[in-house]
């Protein structure tokens, strides 16, 4: 295996991982934009999507149909979470809302454990997705799921790009993220925008959860927590509340993680997650507006 092949292999891995982070981070940023709320339960919405698919395939539903249902289930879960837990505390101080969202996560994960136990179960992947591809005489390998992740991320983000630049609702979400009272003054229905934001963000989380489970091969009630935290770091790196920032941050974080593991000695690379969160703290201290909004204070 040549140096170049190794490098290419790592790039494939980085893009694949970065795509997942970007998908999750985009949803976090959408919700943060309109509500100034860090939605930790976003990770559990991922879990809902993945479990939905696993359960439906288990009772014989074809995989593609199950995926669509899983995404829908995630969207519904996001809608309910907003309605039940977040709406009553919408005007509370920011830290109170942060804690509430942690509590929601805590509840959902424990309900998941109660119903499904905490032991991982298999994620059923159809045969046509279980293949792997080789390039350069096997020096570079990637699975169909890697490809599918990258392709679906690309398509769904194009769709999102269209939504937030071409539709009134999408523009309204960006407007509300910038200036809530100005958005109200032009006649945007903020309640409706928040609901739409949760549904869209949760659908993306559902998709991300399904892809995450497909790569890992298993589903588990707490599966969403780690990717959620990582995506949160990604969103902060890019600029929290900015959708473009979430994308950029997702891919940067994916690359950073893969390259820490690929090029640093294992005595250091095993501390990968500690490095990632040190990066988070550094950004909060030095550049809280993220890479894309260097001069913008995050308004809370």
């Amino acid at each position: 295996m040549t140096q170049l092949d190794y490098m290419l292999q790592q790039i494939v891995n980085a893009v694949s991982l970065g795509s997942l982070y970007a998908l999750v981070a985009v949803g976090l940023s959408i919700v943060f934009g309109v509500l100034k709320l860090t939605n930790f339960a976003h990770g559990d919405v991922m879990m809902v999507g993945a479990f939905g698919v696993a359960l439906l395939v288990g009772i014989g539903v074809p995989f593609p149909v199950a995926v669509i249902c899983g995404i829908a289930a995630a969207a519904v879960a996001g809608f309910l979470i907003e309605r039940i837990a977040y709406r009553p505390i919408r005007d509370a101080p920011d830290v109170a809302r942060l804690l509430t969202s942690l509590a929601v996560t805590y509840i959902i994960e424990n309900v998941g454990i109660l119903v499904f136990t905490s032991s991982p179960r298999n994620f059923p992947l159809p045969a046509f997705l279980n293949t792997s591809w080789e390039l350069s005489n096997g020096a570079i390998t990637f699975t169909s799921i890697n490809l599918l992740t990258i392709a679906l991320t690309f398509v769904s983000l194009l769709l999102l790009g269209w939504f937030i630049t071409r539709t009134t609702t999408g523009l309204g979400m960006r407007a509300a993220a910038e200036d809530m009272s100005a958005a109200q003054l032009v006649g945007l229905d903020v309640n409706r925008l928040i609901i739409v934001a949760f549904i869209v963000a949760s659908a993306y989380a559902g998709l991300a959860g399904i892809l995450w489970a497909a790569q890992a091969g298993v589903v588990q009630p707490q599966m969403g927590f780690t990717p959620l935290l990582k995506a949160f770091v990604a969103a902060i790196i890019g600029g929290f509340g900015s959708i473009a920032g979430a994308l950029v941050g997702g891919y940067i974080l994916g690359a950073l993680e893969i390259f820490i593991v690929a090029f640093l000695p294992s005595s250091i690379s095993s501390y990968r997650d500690a490095i990632v969160f040190a990066v988070l703290i550094a950004f909060l201290l030095v550049r809280p507006g993220g890479l894309l909004q260097p001069n913008r204070e995050i308004k809370l």
Partner: protein
């Protein structure tokens, strides 16, 4: 009787009562109830140490459990008997193999080292406010967890850390609780305490009247971390064996629930919260294990207690965000001064 004398008498009474419970309870009560009392007192130390930054200074740290974990591991490493240490932690540096400390010095060292860690962590982080400091300290919690899992020469990694002598008895916990309460009460109701509260209530106004915001926050953070380290040590010597995930989000959540339920700006509130949540958890845990009432048998519901705690937390946030006590204290009328006293004190200032 003068006010001073009444306070002294009351404190003396509380100390005697505490001592009677601490030394007497094991002879009267079953092990189960002794364990509950001990856990309540232990949680009280942890929550009180948390209240200093989160409640009184307005720096809502999510990283406090990181300090508790650090204290537990430090104290554990120091106090495992030498023979066992060689077997359990063969890769420790040689000087750590050479000795093992008794409970009290190990606890003190754990407290001091944890406080030093808090100086290093807090110096940059205490510049942040509100939401940002919460997120940054959460990052610290995660980093501690990663380090505990990976520094396996010291911690056995993700495997259970075991062999810590079980020395945490009621008198120890009550003693430390009394010290914690004493120090915190002196601190919170002193000029420095007023500085902390003014930093919490209005950072800009505080710095305008010459209060060093960073310094005030840092002192509160470091003192809180000292008692977190002490509490961690007590916890370690209570459990005997634990793992990095003992000191992670779950513990964070329950400590925060206790603090928020009781009321964040009140020492007695913290105690009320601890007692309520601890008792409730105990009841829920027995429900969780499954039980039988007459004909009905309820199966085991693992995680049910956490779910209920989570709901309670959200309900507090919605309906009583200031907690049971808010900023009030149980004073039993001790702090009521006559108007004359107040006026003379005003004149002195």
């Amino acid at each position: 009787m003068s006010r001073e004398a009444r306070i002294k008498l009351c404190v003396l009474f509380a100390l005697v009562a505490g001592a009677v419970v601490a030394f007497g309870a094991p002879h009267v009560l079953s092990d189960y109830f002794v364990r509950i009392i001990l856990l309540i007192a232990l949680n009280a130390i942890l929550v009180l140490s948390l209240s200093l930054s989160n409640g009184f200074t307005g720096v809502f740290s999510l990283g406090h459990v990181g300090f508790i974990g650090a204290g537990a591991y430090i104290s554990g490493i120091l106090s495992i008997p030498v023979q066992q240490k060689l077997a359990l932690l063969p890769h420790l540096p040689a000087f750590l193999h050479a000795f093992s400390l008794p409970f009290l010095p190990a606890t003190l060292v754990a407290g001091v080292l944890t406080a030093l860690l808090a100086v290093v962590v807090g110096y940059p982080l205490m510049r942040l406010s509100g939401y940002f400091v919460s997120v940054a300290t959460m990052g610290f919690l995660i980093i501690v967890n990663v380090v505990l899992i990976n520094a396996s020469d010291f911690t056995r990694g993700a495997r259970t850390f075991t062999g810590v002598p079980l020395e945490t008895t009621l008198p120890w916990v009550f003693g430390w609780l009394a010290i914690t309460l004493f120090v915190l009460a002196r601190l919170v109701y002193s000029p420095f305490g007023r500085a902390m509260k003014s930093v919490r209530d209005d950072t800009i106004a505080a710095s305008a009247v010459g209060i060093g915001v960073l310094r005030t926050r840092l002192i509160a953070f470091v003192i809180g971390a000292f008692f977190a380290g002490v509490g961690g040590s007590l916890y370690a010597h209570y459990l005997g064996s634990f793992s990095p995930n003992t000191f992670y989000f779950s513990l964070t959540m329950s400590l925060i629930t206790m603090l928020v339920l009781g009321g964040m700006g009140s020492l007695s509130g913290a105690l009320v919260g601890v007692v309520c949540v601890s008792l409730l958890s105990e009841v829920l845990r027995s429900v969780e294990r499954g039980f039988t009432i007459g004909e009905f048998s309820v199966p085991a519901l693992f995680g049910a207690s956490q779910i209920v705690l989570g709901f309670i937390f959200i309900l507090i946030m919605i309906f009583r965000p200031k907690g049971i006590m808010g900023e009030r204290e149980f004073t039993f009328g001790l702090t009521q001064r006559s108007a004359v006293v107040n006026q003379t004190e005003e004149r002195k200032r």
